[in-house]
Amino acid sequence: MATSHDSATITVKPTVPWYRDRNARAIAFQILALSAVILLGWYLVSNTMHNMATRNIATGWSFLGREAGFGISEHVIEYSPADSYGRAILVGFLNTIKVAVIGIVLATIIGVIVGLARLSPNWLVARMATVYVESLRNVPLLLQLIIWYGLIIAMPGPRQAVQMIPGVFLTGRGVYYPSIEAEPVHTWMAVLFLVGIALTWGYARWAKRRQDETGNAAPLLLPALGFIVGLPLVAWLVAGAPLTLGIPELKGFNFAGGSVLSPEFAAMVVGLSTYTGAFIAEVVRSGIQAVSHGQTEAARALGLRPMLVTRLVVFPQSLRVIVPPLTSQYLNLTKNSSLAVAIGYPDLVSTGNTALNQTGQAVECIAIIMGVYLAISLAISLFMNWYNKHIALVER
């Protein structure tokens, strides 16, 4: 080219005007979008402030300290109508956690069983699992919860209670079941139980390292049992083996003794766990199917027994596929527990909504509800992300 022989330096002038420059446009566009959002926000906030002023709605968080004045039928911690709104909402939050944790455990059990059943070589079992999954997945959860609740409260009263197994009574007022009455030593047993789990974990790590180094497998089952079951048992025996069983007995018109699951709680747990269980079943099924058959064959060719093939080869690989969608199912279950408001279980949304109706402070109450769910969602996904990273396949 002719210009290449020119000794004069060529200064390339920008031929595009500034408004066609990519960076300038990006900045302008972002400023535009941000100011639109800020303007919209300002417009909404000013409207809200104005509306609340004309309607005499108080603002601020001071209402949390005022007396709530409404009762809550179920509470994990002490609560009476004389307590504050803040405590009422806390009680609701703990109820949400309670139903979510129990629901997650049961849903996982149901999901794994049904998911495996769908893959069963037994035609009848596989078909039944399919019918279960399809019929529960395609009907709204709210409808299912209302049906469960309706069925439970339609049960006969305590006097004609249905005895499912000795000591467990199904009534329209809830499920009565025997429970062990609290003793001081139980706290120690719980602590020792946790200590036992920690010891087992440490021991298992040590045993694995030893096996990696020397090839000698250390026995695991017996020491684990000793740590987890033995330690609390010893404490219990040392304390003189105190045991008083509270057994529900019909006294007058109701049961006395034992413990009771309220109809609302029972309906929530049954509804949430069967519904989410159907989704988890699909997650488990697709996770196991995702492990290629060659892996199973290779493991068999190495001479592993079928149990070990599942435990060491198929399961760990399917877990990598299962965990991410499983996380979102857990999140869904937690969020779906908010439907409790429809059947009167006093969860976070329900108590928050009552507070809203009594104080009229909609913005604060809805902000609390949303904020708490957001925090729960973030916490679960952070934990599951950590776990997922932990089990992820380390590739080259």
């Binding site: 990006a26 566009f29 972002q30 979008a33 941000l34 959002v37 909404l44 409207n47 809200t48 104005h50 509306n51 609340m52 004309t54 070589p121 037994n122 035609w123 009848l124 079992v125 039944m128 399809e134 019929s135 997945r137 395609n138 009907v139 709204p140 959860l141 709210l142 409808l143 299912q144 209302i146 049906i147 309706g150 069925l151 339609a154 199917q289 995702a290 290629s292 969020k335 779906n336 908010s338 439907l339 408001v341 429809a342 949304v349 909504n353 809203l356 909609a362 913005v363 809805i366 509800i369 949303m370 769910y373 957001l374 969602s377 973030l378």
Partner: protein, 368 residues
């Protein structure tokens, strides 16, 4: 081989009867080994109990004719279809003007017809989207009235038409919003990206009911004093805002699956951002995300039942209220069975359509 050797060949024997036909199938699939046999027997017993129980409740012991007293006698043993015969118009259409309920029936028919058309491959394309928008306009006209039809206030809308309207309008309006959010989330501009991520994650982190509460309680506070928006519209906006976040994630999945070469090729052709997206990337990305959007739609359809909690007359609420009459009060369960069946038929058929779409487009990430 010689002909003689051929003649000596023994013709292949048929497999033993126990290995073929129904018997062989049963042997392999039901009775292979003692454990499997036990499982089969237990499962067969459970299946028999469930099927027989359901049949005798809904058919054999059910009350088809008679008086409420006949139903009362069979309470808990058989379904009271008598109550459904009496109340089905309320379950299906809610408090909609009685003499105008044919309009609701037409709305249901229109939606079913559109779903049916959408399942036929020949109709897939841009025209189908226009068809849906047109159908939505006709539905709104049928529901509200005007232009020669009697006006029915939204406070009287109810039943299946309302449920379908909330769900379909929800997904149709959430679609463009979802595209914008998904593009924003993939954008290189940090402020835009942050805004979209914040919106999507905020909405996905909270339950729908809290969004609906916000829509019903806080929207009136957000707007200037003299403007009031309708209760149904408020719920509809809440559903759209909620669905948009999930649609955005489905579309983002599609965008990520488009190979990078496609973006670069569009750049090389000198296409600007909007042309690159609308001509090259989005057509491919949307095709990939259709199955997940359809699955989102099934969730939306089920989730519309939550408007019951903010006291709209959707299908779930009408089937509940229909049984508030004193003589039918004890048979609430049968109303929910009917509502559940209607939901099941819709959700199940749409999920089958979704599977079909996935198979035909062959974009699923199936492992072979």
């Amino acid at each position: 081989m010689t002909a003689a050797a051929d003649a000596d060949l023994i013709p292949a024997r048929r497999p033993p009867a126990s290995e073929t036909g129904a018997l062989g199938w049963a042997r392999h699939n039901l009775f292979s080994g003692w454990l499997n046999t036990i499982i089969t027997i237990v499962a067969a017993f459970v299946a028999y109990k469930v099927i027989w129980g359901a049949l005798s409740y809904t058919v054999f012991n059910a009350v088809w004719t008679g008086t409420p007293q006949t139903c009362q006698d069979m309470l808990g043993k058989g379904a009271c279809w008598l109550a459904i015969q009496d109340r089905y118009r309320f379950i299906l259409f809610g408090p909609f003007d009685y003499d105008q309920q044919w309009r609701g029936a037409l709305v249901i028919f229109l939606f079913v017809a559109m779903v049916g058309l959408s399942a036929i491959r020949r109709f897939w394309g841009k025209k189908l989207i226009y068809g849906w928008v047109a159908a939505l306009a006709v539905v709104l006209w049928l529901m509200y009235g005007g232009l020669g039809l009697k006006v029915v206030e939204t406070s009287k809308w109810g039943g299946l038409p309302l449920t379908l309207l909330l769900a379909f309008a929800g997904i149709i309006f959430a679609f463009p919003l979802g595209i914008v959010l998904a593009l924003g989330r993939r954008s290189h501009m940090p402020a835009i990206k942050a805004l979209c991520v914040a919106y999507i994650e905020l909405i996905r982190g909270v339950p729908l009911i809290s969004v609906l509460f916000m829509a019903s309680v806080m929207f009136p506070l957000f707007l200037p004093e003299n403007i009031t928006i309708d209760k149904v519209l408020r719920a509809q906006v809440g559903i759209i805002l909620f669905t948009a976040a999930y649609t955005a994630e489905a579309i983002r999945g599609g965008l990520q699956a488009v190979p990078k070469g496609q973006y670069e090729a569009a750049d090389a052709l000198g296409l600007g951002y909007w042309r690159k997206m609308s001509l090259i990337v989005l057509p491919q990305a949307l095709k990939i995300s259709i199955p997940s959007i359809v699955n989102n739609f099934i969730s939306t359809l089920k989730d519309t039942s939550l408007v019951t909690i903010i006291a709209l007359y959707d299908l779930l609420n009408t089937s509940k209220i229909a049984f508030n009459e004193p003589q039918w009060r004890s048979f609430f369960f049968d109303g929910f069975v009917v509502a559940g069946l209607i939901f099941f038929v819709f959700c199940f058929s749409i999920s089958r359509i979704s599977i079909k779409i996935e198979r035909v487009l062959d974009v699923g990430h199936k492992r072979r």
